[in-house]
């Protein structure tokens, strides 16, 4: 684990009560701070120790919730909505477009570790379908042109 992440983890843990109901909160904070948007094994160990629970319990939670990952992802996780409204408004074409443009399949990360492409269920932005998120930022009414601009913005922000 890179050193600064280790320090961040210490700091995050110190900000939460040692109570296991804060597990999801802690994992969110840690993952958001990690440039590879995931929870590494050493961190799982630390969190388990801090909350006095089994490592398996932490992995169980990471595995269950779709926002968490125990495998490295890109700095920016693209979650494109594949639920009914976005689908009917053209999300399928956009997924194909993104796959081509980034040259990855859904679930994969670009070689420069900048983007991971994922699909998601409804993001609550159905009035502006098709919608997607990049990390926690929401975009709607997407067209290929807009997707180009959004990707460009994030690429400049390495």
């Amino acid at each position: 684990m890179r050193n600064y992440l280790a320090m961040e983890v210490e700091k995050i843990l110190s900000e939460f009560p040692k109570s296991k109901d804060y597990l999801l909160e802690i994992l969110h904070e840690i993952q958001n701070k990690n440039p590879n948007s995931y929870i590494p094994p050493e961190v799982v160990q630390k969190v388990a120790k801090h909350l006095n629970i089994k490592k398996a319990q932490v992995y169980g939670v990471i595995g269950y919730y779709s926002m968490f990952s125990d495998k490295p992802r890109g700095k920016y996780v693209i979650r494109i909505c594949a639920s009914p409204v976005c689908s009917m408004m053209g999300a399928e074409n956009l997924i194909e477009y993104l796959e081509k443009k980034l040259n990855v399949k859904v679930g994969e990360t670009t070689p420069d570790e900048l983007f991971t492409l994922e699909t998601s269920e409804c993001l609550g932005n159905c009035a502006a379908a098709p919608a997607m998120m990049v990390n926690l930022d929401m975009y709607g009414n997407l067209t290929p042109g807009m997707v180009d601009n959004i990707l460009k913005q994030y690429s400049q922000n390495k």
Binding site: K20, L27, H28, V61, Y64, F68, P84, C122
Partner: protein, 417 residues
């Protein structure tokens, strides 16, 4: 154009959601003041008499839930939870409330907590809703500073602490007992009901759990009274409802209206009619776990019971509109994929069944001569078994869109051929 009637969205767009001062000058926290001066009994009876029903989808009488949590024990540990894990496709009303008027939600929660004598509460917001989380967090901090949260609220002697818990991407956690598991820091596996949360909820304690929109109705009901609330809407569905309209309409968005509006009014007058000059094909009411309405339902009143009479559900108030050129089999496939993806796998009928429904339909659609009558009756038979043998609402849901799509739309189409 029909004028909206806003209660849950009373301040939406009118005040700055980040300013507690603006909220206060719009009569904010007046209902809380009033509530703290009356007995808790008076509060839950007022809510009961108002006829308010849960806006998360189930439509259960809110006052009855409150009463159950209030009377179960007097001085024991109790909790209040706001369910803001909005994941039903087509639904985004809770997000709008949290983003545009977070204090109305907090005020509703403190009133609810006082009525059942709970001293700690949680707002469980889905992790994807960044702006909602930020706005509610800021509002909580402001409410503490102004004495609307914390110790001895407004000098009443009542204490209540409130914090946010974030979900992390699981549709199932929108179900109340599953949500409680998640607040406890666990995987979102459903619990067996009963016991209900009002008896055995968070950490085994009595817990009142309500949807965002439900709680956002509390302040106005307390301020204006149950009678006033009952004068709006219909007899069995009093008050207003936020409808989120999406799909093939000219003006998709969120709109609050008294119950009793017709689907036609909502689609054509409110949401501007069908896009690109096409005709109305169908509307999916209530999201993936909802039901397909056809042209013949355009004049049905939008209320819990009126819809039920014709085999439809209101659910969360989502209305997804399809023009008459849409292929609804593709939509059905998409819905089945959704259930397959979100099934937690705890019960075998749901785990295996949701995949099977999807596979059957996909295989049939890929055949050269796809004929719905070859497959839907069988899918419905299977979905019915899944519904009867599954533990939680997810397994009980696929039957709803499948059966309604077949009975209301596909069956009559195929009879024409």
């Amino acid at each position: 154009m029909l004028k909206e009637y806003r209660i849950a969205l009373r301040n939406s767009g009118l005040i700055n959601p980040e300013s507690i001062e603006e909220f206060i000058s719009a009569d904010g926290y007046q209902a809380l003041r009033k509530a703290l001066k009356s007995e808790p009994l008076g509060i839950y009876e007022e809510i009961y008499d108002s006829g308010l029903r849960g806006r998360g989808g189930a439509g259960f009488p809110t006052g009855a839930k409150e009463k159950a949590a209030a009377v179960i024990c007097s001085d024991c540990e109790k909790y209040v939870i706001c369910n803001a894990d909005e994941g039903e496709p087509g639904t985004f009303k809770d997000r709008i409330i949290m983003e545009t008027d977070p204090h109305t939600l907090i005020e509703g929660m403190v009133i609810a907590a006082y009525s059942v004598n709970a001293h700690r509460g949680f707002v469980y917001i889905r992790g994807e809703y960044k702006l909602s989380i930020q706005r509610v967090q800021l509002a909580i901090e402001q409410a503490y500073k102004h004495g609307f949260l914390g110790k001895n609220i407004l000098g009443s002697g009542f204490d209540f602490d409130l914090e946010i818990r974030r979900g992390a991407g699981s549709y199932l956690c929108g179900e109340e007992l599953t949500l409680i598991e998640s607040v406890e820091g666990k995987r979102g596996y459903p619990r067996i009901k009963p016991p209900y949360p009002a008896e055995h909820g968070l950490w085994g304690a009595p817990t009142l759990i309500n949807n965002v929109e439900t709680l956002a109705n509390f302040p106005s009901i307390i301020l204006n009274g149950a009678k006033w609330y009952r004068s709006i809407g219909t007899e069995n569905s009093p008050g207003t409802k936020i409808f989120t309209i999406s799909g093939d309409v000219n003006k998709p968005g969120y709109y609050e209206f008294p119950f009793g509006m017709t689907l036609k009014e909502l689609v054509f007058d409110v949401a501007g009619g069908i896009k690109d000059g096409k005709g109305f094909g169908a509307a999916l009411l209530g999201g993936a776990a909802g039901t397909f309405a056809s042209k013949k339902h355009l004049d049905v009143q939008m209320g819990y019971d009126k819809l039920k009479e014709v085999g439809l559900t209101l659910g969360s108030g989502a209305i997804i509109v399809f023009d008459d050129t849409r292929n609804l089999n593709d939509t059905m496939l998409n819905i089945l994929k959704f259930f397959k993806h979100e099934s937690c796998g705890k019960c075998i009928p749901c785990r295996v069944g949701t995949s099977q429904l999807y596979n059957h339909l996909v295989n049939e659609i890929n055949k050269n001569h796809f004929n719905p009558s070859n497959i839907y009756p069988e899918l419905i038979r299977q979905a019915d078994i899944i519904a009867k043998t599954s533990l939680c609402p997810l397994g009980q849901s696929p039957i709803l869109p499948l059966r309604s799509l077949w009975q209301n739309i596909l069956e009559s189409n195929s009879a024409k051929h």
